[in-house]
């Protein structure tokens, strides 16, 4: 009997302990959720809800000036048959590919050079980084002073050597916008790549040099594979940000001449404000979302470090 009471008491004590433990656990969880609450509420409201709702909005039209009405697949049919939407898509992708390729080449080249310039490196880095500080709108306005056919720096330089200046924004507008991104972005990528280069293990290079590997082979077989994480980050970051190109198009060309520099983000803004077709804008938004997600996930898959996976 005493044994029974003991067991009962022990059981009651254990239950009480469990109850207390549960309560203290829930108190701990409550604290954690309280810490998270502001961030999660704002994130859900202003990021998650818009992302989830943008797909549904493609089936409606209106909502700003007129009543919102259900239009079924009309927006999608419109986008598929719209030559402006098609050139916006091809321009955006062409711009992104060209800008990333150039910025990787120039930024990567400068990073390799900066890694060898021990003296004065800090000053050179700072000067190269200066354009990164200009907001895209300001950089675009500055670009007008570079490319203007009458008083632009390029025109003045060409005149000085007797070459007829080019009307950049009229005849090579997309190239002009790509070059703006190269001017403004190169410093960022150069500093990024330089940080990656300087963190590489030097012992490997010494060993490779002792084994008689030349500069080129060390670059291809050591630098490039070791830099893979940095390159992948730069590629994904560059893709996501360049696919959204809007500021420079809005300031420099307004999508023109014709639709030569129409981009998806520019066309979204135009659909809503110039053409008063927010549902059409939502459809283009969904398109931009899908293109961005597909491209960045493809990059992750293609460039993931295969060797590390094999080692596991």
């Amino acid at each position: 009997m005493t044994a029974g009471t003991d067991a009962g008491l022990r059981g009651a004590a254990a239950a009480e302990r469990r109850r207390l433990a549960r309560r203290s656990r829930w108190r701990r969880y409550r604290v954690a959720y309280a810490f998270l609450a502001p961030a999660l509420v704002l994130w859900a409201l202003f990021l998650l809800v818009p992302v989830v709702s943008v797909g549904g909005l493609t089936f409606f039209e209106g909502g700003f000036l007129q009543e919102r009405t259900f239009v079924g697949l009309r927006n999608w049919a419109g986008v598929l048959g719209d030559t402006v939407a098609r050139s916006a898509l091809t321009n955006t992708i062409a711009y992104t590919v060209a800008a990333i390729a150039l910025v990787f080449l120039v930024g990567g080249g400068l990073a390799l050079l900066l890694a060898r310039a021990a003296r004065g490196g800090a000053l050179l880095r700072t000067l190269l980084y200066l354009p990164v500080l200009a907001p895209m709108v300001v950089a675009s306005l500055i670009w007008l002073f570079v490319l203007h056919p009458d008083f632009g720096i390029v025109a003045l330089a060409l005149q000085a050597v007797g070459v007829t200046p080019v009307n950049w924004l009229g005849d090579h507008a997309l190239a002009a916008i790509v070059l703006l991104e190269v001017w403004r972005g190169t410093g960022f990528y150069a500093v990024l790549f330089l940080a990656g280069l300087l963190s590489l293990p030097k012992e490997l290079y010494q060993a490779a040099a002792l084994d008689g590997a030349g500069r080129w082979r060390r670059f291809v077989h050591l630098t490039l594979p070791l830099m893979r994480p940095t390159l992948l980050f730069a590629l994904v970051f560059g893709t996501i940000s360049n696919l959204q190109i809007f500021d420079s198009v809005y300031v420099l060309t307004g999508g023109g001449p014709g639709t030569d520099t129409a981009t998806i983000a520019w066309y979204i803004q135009q659909s809503i404000f110039t053409f008063n077709k927010p549902g059409y804008g939502a459809t283009l938004s969904f398109l931009l979302l899908v293109v961005t997600l597909v491209l960045s996930l493809a990059q992750f898959r293609l460039l993931r470090d295969r060797r590390r996976r094999r080692m596991r």
Binding site: F46, L57, M136, L198, K202, G281, L289
Partner: protein
């Protein structure tokens, strides 16, 4: 072989011994090094000359830009562009709006991000991993793609053309949570555990133990948000209607749309809107580079 040169030497510089050998190599290398500096100098000039040209244009009457032969600098400097910017255009108001919006967002984000980062790094709760993965996944969402639903939301709430509309949506960006979690996770665990043993509440631990240690990360984060907001254009453009609510980027972009482009005015506006960033850069250069590098290192 001396190891002192390791930090300054390029990663692919060959290893070798002996002072004489090194001197020979240096002698053999100097034309290559001269080429390196030549290319770097030209690149720096390409980066800087447009700024100098715009500075010169800001101190010129617009007509002087078209003079032939072109004069690079006018003397005495013409200040009319700057007075026009303040008297004929609400430049002061644009600046004020940008400063209010930028500072509010930065301060709010520092608090929100470090609270959430602390929870993800040090606290245990159901759903921690999936929530964090969901947050990170939305880093890939381009803002232009959610602008339209956001705008509709703001219009529904009657917030279009207010500070609320300028400030609230940018607060959703999860990048800072990611940064703070990474940093707080790297802090030694003993400190907060010791405080927990002593019966400190989590809020007290966060406030008195963790927060003082995160100053470097907070500075990087502040720079990141300041830059993002100062540069922000698309959202302020679409969510403001009146000239009184416009921010700097929107305001100076509108200068180009005037009936007859006043180039001196545009140059002055571009120049003035960059001054605060350049000052900040000079003061916090270290953190600027860290802010742009963040992520690359963490991959």
């Amino acid at each position: 072989m001396a190891r002192s040169g390791l930090l300054t030497r390029a990663p692919d510089a060959p290893a070798g011994g002996g002072r004489v050998a090194r001197r020979d190599r240096r002698r053999a290398r100097w034309p290559a090094l001269a080429l390196v500096y030549a290319v770097l100098t030209v690149s720096c000039l390409a980066a800087v000359i447009p700024f100098m040209y715009v500075v010169a244009a800001a101190f010129k009457d617009s007509a002087a830009l078209f003079s032939y032969p072109p004069e690079l600098v006018t003397w005495p400097p013409y200040l009319g562009n700057f007075t026009a910017l303040v008297t004929e255009h609400p430049f002061g108001r644009w600046l004020l709006n940008t400063v209010v919006v930028t500072l509010t967002i930065t301060v709010a984000k520092l608090l929100i991000d470090s609270l959430a980062g602390y929870a993800f790094a040090k606290l245990d709760f159901p759903g921690r991993e999936p929530l964090f993965v969901a947050l990170i996944a939305t880093l890939m969402v381009p803002f232009a793609a959610i602008m339209m639903p956001l705008l509709q939301m703001m219009q529904g709430a009657g917030l279009v053309d207010t500070y609320w509309a300028l400030i609230l949506p940018p607060l959703a960006n999860p990048i800072g949570i990611f940064l703070m979690r990474q940093f707080i996770e790297g802090l030694p665990g003993d400190l907060d555990n010791a405080a927990r043993m002593d019966g400190c509440s989590e809020l007290a631990i966060f406030r008195h133990v963790v927060l003082p240690l995160t100053k470097p990360a907070l500075t990087v984060l502040a720079v990141l948000h300041l830059l993002n907001q100062w540069n922000s254009f698309l959202w302020p453009l679409v969510v403001t209607r009146s000239q009184d609510m416009q921010v700097l980027t929107v305001g100076i972009a509108s200068l180009k749309g005037l009936l007859r482009a006043d180039w001196g005015l545009i140059a002055a506006g571009a120049l003035l809107s960059m001054v605060p960033l350049v000052v900040l850069f000079v003061l916090f250069q270290r953190y600027f580079v860290a802010a742009s590098l963040f992520g690359a290192v963490k991959e």
